[in-house]
């Protein structure tokens, strides 16, 4: 049975995973430049050795609770067809290997946009590993937020 390696991380207590080949690197803390007017899930941009990378707050993207003040997120830089994107997560976990047999599609009760970003779960002992569709997660509507112009 085919097995797959996942780079895991925590988001609001949930265990998430991204296939290892999709992960470019993990950076603990990085200075962030905010982008006013950007989509709310865009936390800012980071300078990754001369490359400008957009950082997406995964908690917000997945409609989870806001991170508490003072908690520094971790950048998981993933490769996407449109270049590298940094996903902000709470905590990085270990790399784990799972069998394809433990995989199951998300239940029907998982609804909305979030469903499109979660491919399914691997049933691990005592916990569930959510498999993130990185490409979908990085697809943020290009439409800028409505302008609130001056007077």
């Amino acid at each position: 049975m085919a097995s797959q390696q996942f780079c895991t991380f925590l988001l609001d207590g949930y265990l998430f995973g991204v296939p290892v080949p999709q992960v470019q690197e993990v950076i603990r803390f990085h200075e962030m430049t905010r982008v006013p007017l950007a989509h709310e899930v865009v936390e800012g941009m980071i300078n990754l050795r001369g490359q400008i990378v957009v950082a997406i707050d995964l908690r917000r993207r997945l409609a989870l609770r806001e991170r508490a003040d003072g908690e520094l997120p971790i950048n998981v830089v993933v490769r996407t067809p449109d270049g590298a994107v940094s996903l902000l997560v709470d905590e990085i976990g270990e790399v784990i290997e799972v069998e394809q047999s433990s995989f199951e599609a998300p239940p029907e009760t998982l609804r909305g946009e979030v469903r499109s970003m979660i491919l399914g779960v691997h049933k691990l002992e005592g916990k569930l590993l959510h498999v993130l569709d990185t490409e979908k997660a990085c697809q943020v509507s290009e439409r800028a937020q409505a302008a609130v112009s001056g007077r």
Partner: protein
């Protein structure tokens, strides 16, 4: 593909481009022996290489052209328009076949028998005049044949903005037709030495210094050469090589070898050049960009360091990096002539098809521009040229009537000015008719008639750049379809350029395009606002104003303005324009901050960056003005592309990122200028979306039971209907009714959201109120007790305990009202009606 074939393609395509020009030029100076010789050489080289590489069909066509050319060269035939057209058609055919080779490595099935016949006919000289061969006709014959002509065959391909690159035949079509591949000669020899040089000595290239090479190689003695040259002087018609052979001082093989060397040297002569891939240059440019960034960082370090040695090293590094940057930028520079080269041909063909006489003059072909910019302005320029030809320059009779020379003059002029390149396209045609444009503009609703009357002519002329504007009285296949000028403007502005038009009635029109030299590294002003730095391209910067006190700022009904030398300058606060949203956590903080900023500006210093957007000056108020710096423009991630306020980002000396402001987008966002430049369709789109959003806010209020109040977004309501109770029928357990020829299921709201209702009253009511809801093709009727009102405003919706079919509750008209989730209600009430997979398990 073989290297050898690739080289052949590159070389031949370059030669063909030159050929186009030379042929057009030859038409005006038919006696030029030099031009003829050069044209002949080019075709000969192509023919020779073809024979060598095994492109038989291509060789045939080139041969037909060569035969015709040799008659011209020998003075046995005079150049007529037909002959030129024939030769141009031959060039097109050759180009088409080269494109074919590029795509399939074979020269295709078509060996252009008609074209070759024509060329042969033309060899007959005077007789040929009876067989007209206009370019358009030949282009048609190409179209009929499987191999496509290049888009360059001019008027026959009237796409408004797409004079495509030369080598783009629809390869797929031809591949199917391929039966036998052309024989391929193994590439053993240099392509530069076509065998025909040896076999056809009469056609060999100029043997100018063949003697010198022979001497150099030790094949002949200097004295023998002198003798041979003397022979020639006293009247020997033979070439030096032949004389030497006949004198018996060297063999024919020696001469042939020397000729080959000469050919090779001929290419290498002049400045030594190397072909370098564009990819490599782009990569170099990127690396230099990185180096510039590192240099900036280093300099910042060195400013704080005390070490004198470190200072010296970083200074030197600074100089070297600057020089390197300049030189690498230079490698990407190309003369604008490279794209103008196509225009003589375009103009000639267009003039023929429009029945006009036009002379093209070009000034400043050597003006250099960055490669990417050259690419970007190619189409807009072509369009402008076409436009001038079609609308600007009048027909010969009209010109004569106006007392002008029958031949119109189209001038292209390029020159550097203030770090920018100016390109002017001027014609001496009829000029723009201001009154007609005014009328058109009012007709199209682009401006009001009072406004139009007030506008100076200069502004009126610039209206032609608005989308959907065309004053052409007849729509031709060249231009005049109302698309184009706005596209030109958009494309030029995309690369940070501007377009301006000036015109004098009866005298002509000049379109001036101003573009930056390069895009990759630009000078920019760095400012600070709300704690972040932003870069503003120097190009849109007019001046900086610093006010000691914010008191000088006045307001026009709330809109801040500043009197700049007596003129009111509208002010835009960068913080406000950008602070539309900060991260959620900071929302409250931000508001305070903005207030603080305002207070600050009211009391303290105000920094105003005066910018220009579409000719409209405005002042951008920022917290701090830092410095000007050379910045390396980096593209924004896909997630940020949609924000018009930024054109990119850059990395500052300290390694942090700064956004580059798009002045035009910013001005639009701040409503300094209208968003008129967006295409008409987009405008329409935004209008409908505005209408939608209005609907989004409108809510239909209805009663559910005695106390319950519900709201349905009006945008989800197709119709409101009242029916007698008797319309309700049953299909199985489902209540249905006939509605507009359909059977639609009915859903009772009270069944979904339980409410205490006056059962007796309901039972006695004679009519039902139905909210008709349509999703896709399916229609559902929602029965409510009573429709109350439609309200526009919406208070914040709070989500109390989750209930099926309810999004949340809010207060309107002093009632707590439930906002219904209509799609969910419909799905749960009529499962299977809509996409079954969409049914929400939890809500049934």
């Amino acid at each position: 593909m073989d290297e050898i074939v690739k080289d052949f393609l590159i070389e031949s395509n370059e030669n063909l481009d030159r050929l186009d020009q030379e042929l057009v030029k030859l038409e005006s100076e038919p006696s030029s022996k030099e031009l003829l010789a050069s044209i002949f050489r080019t075709i000969h080289t192509i023919k020779g290489s073809c024979g060598f590489l095994g492109f038989a069909h291509l060789e045939k066509v080139a041969h037909a052209g060569e035969s015709l050319l040799s008659l011209l060269r020998d003075g046995k035939l005079t150049l007529t328009e037909e002959v030129t057209s024939g030769l141009l058609a031959m060039v097109d055919a050759v180009r088409g076949m080269l494109g074919e080779i590029q795509a399939t490595e074979h020269d295709g099935e078509n060996d252009y028998p008609e074209l070759r016949d024509q060329l042969k006919l033309l060899q007959g000289g005077e007789n040929a005049k009876a067989v007209p061969l206009p370019v358009t006709a030949s282009a048609e014959s190409h179209a009929a044949a499987p191999v496509a002509t290049s888009a360059e065959s001019g008027a026959s391909v009237p796409a408004p903005l797409s004079v495509g690159s030369a080598a783009s035949p629809p390869a797929s079509e031809i591949r199917i037709l391929e039966v036998e591949p052309a024989p391929q000669t193994p590439p053993q020899e240099e392509p530069a030495t076509p065998p025909s040089v040896a076999t056809a000595p009469s056609h060999r290239p100029v043997a100018g210094k063949i003697g010198g090479i022979l001497v150099e190689r030790g094949s002949v003695k200097a004295e023998d050469l002198a003798t041979a040259l003397h022979e020639q002087e006293i009247g020997d018609q033979r070439r030096v090589g032949e004389i030497l052979v006949s004198l018996g001082v060297c063999t024919r093989e020696d001469v042939t070898a020397a000729q080959q060397i000469l050919e090779l040297r001929g290419r290498e002569s002049g400045v030594e050049t190397v072909r370098v891939g564009v990819n490599l240059l782009d990569k170099l440019m990127n690396l230099v960009g990185e180096l510039v960034l590192a240099r900036n960082q280093l300099l910042q370090f060195s400013n704080t360091a005390q070490d004198a040695g470190f200072h010296a090293v970083s200074q030197r590094m600074n100089l070297i990096a600057t020089e390197l940057q300049e030189d690498v930028m230079k490698t990407r520079m190309q003369p604008i002539g490279n794209i103008w080269n196509k225009f003589p041909r375009t103009v000639r063909d267009l003039a023929h098809s429009c029945g006009k006489e036009v002379r093209l003059e070009m000034v400043g072909q050597d003006t250099e521009l960055d490669r990417t910019i050259i690419e970007a302005i190619k189409d807009p320029l072509t369009h402008l040229v076409r436009n001038s030809m079609d609308h600007g320059i009048e027909a010969p009779e009209a010109r004569k009537r106006a007392g002008k020379d029958a031949t119109g003059v189209l001038t292209l002029r390029a020159f550097h000015e203030g770090g920018q390149v100016n390109i002017e396209i001027s014609d001496d045609g009829a000029g723009l008719n201001a009154d007609r444009i005014r009328k058109k503009a009012v007709e199209r609703g682009l401006t009001s008639s009072e406004q139009a009357a007030r506008m100076p002519d200069r502004d009126i002329f610039n209206l032609i750049f608005l989308p959907g504007f065309s004053t052409a009285e007849k729509i031709t296949n060249v231009s005049g379809r109302g698309v184009g000028m706005d596209v030109v403007k958009t494309n030029v502005e995309k690369i940070g350029g501007t377009v301006d038009v000036q015109s004098t009635a009866g005298k002509g029109t000049t379109v001036r395009v101003k573009i930056p030299l390069t895009l990759a590294i630009i000078p920019a002003l760095v400012v600070r606002c709300s704690g972040e730095r932003f870069a503003i391209p120097q190009i849109s910067l007019t001046e900086l104003v610093r006010l000691e006190s914010g008191k000088a700022i006045e307001t026009v009904h709330g809109a801040p303005v500043y009197r700049l030398r007596g003129q009111l300058l509208p002010l835009v606060y960068l913080s406000q324009t950008l602070n539309a949203r900060k991260s959620r956590k900071d929302e409250t903080k931000t508001e305070d901050q903005t207030l603080e900023n305002e207070k600050e500006t009211a009391l303290g210093n105000v920094n105003i960056v005066v910018l220009q957007a579409e000719g409209q000056p405005f002042g951008l108020v920022v917290d701090d003005i830092l410095d000007t710096e050379e910045i390396v423009v980096k593209p924004l991630g896909k997630q940020l592309k949609g924000i018009s306020a930024y054109s990119g980002a850059t990395i500052m000396g300290d390694g942090r990122i700064a956004l580059i402001l798009d002045v035009l987008g910013l001005a639009q966002r701040a409503k300094v200028i209208a968003e008129a430049r967006e295409s008409a369709r987009e405008e329409q789109h935004s209008e409908t979306s505005k209408a939608e959003s209005r609907n989004d806010h409108a809510l239909l209020l209805a009663e559910n039971g005695l106390e319950g109040r519900v709201a349905i977004p009006l945008s989800l309501v197709a119709r409101l209907e009242e029916f007698p109770r008797t319309v309700i029928e049953r299909a199985g357990t489902q209540e249905v009714m006939q509605y507009r020829g359909q059977i639609i299921p009915l859903v009772r709201l009270s069944a979904i959201i339980p409410a205490t209702s006056d059962a007796e009253m309901l039972a006695n009511a004679n009519s039902i109120q139905v909210v008709v809801y349509t999703e896709g093709k399916r229609t559902v009727g929602l029965i409510v007790d009573r429709i109350v009102d439609i309200v526009e405003e919406r208070a914040a919706v709070e989500s109390l305990a989750p209930r099926a079919g309810v999004v949340g509750s809010f207060v309107t008209q002093r009632h707590v009202t439930d906002l219904l989730d209509v799609p969910a209600i419909v799905r749960s009430a009529v499962p299977g009606l809509l996409d079954a997979a969409e049914i929400e398990a939890g809500r049934t």
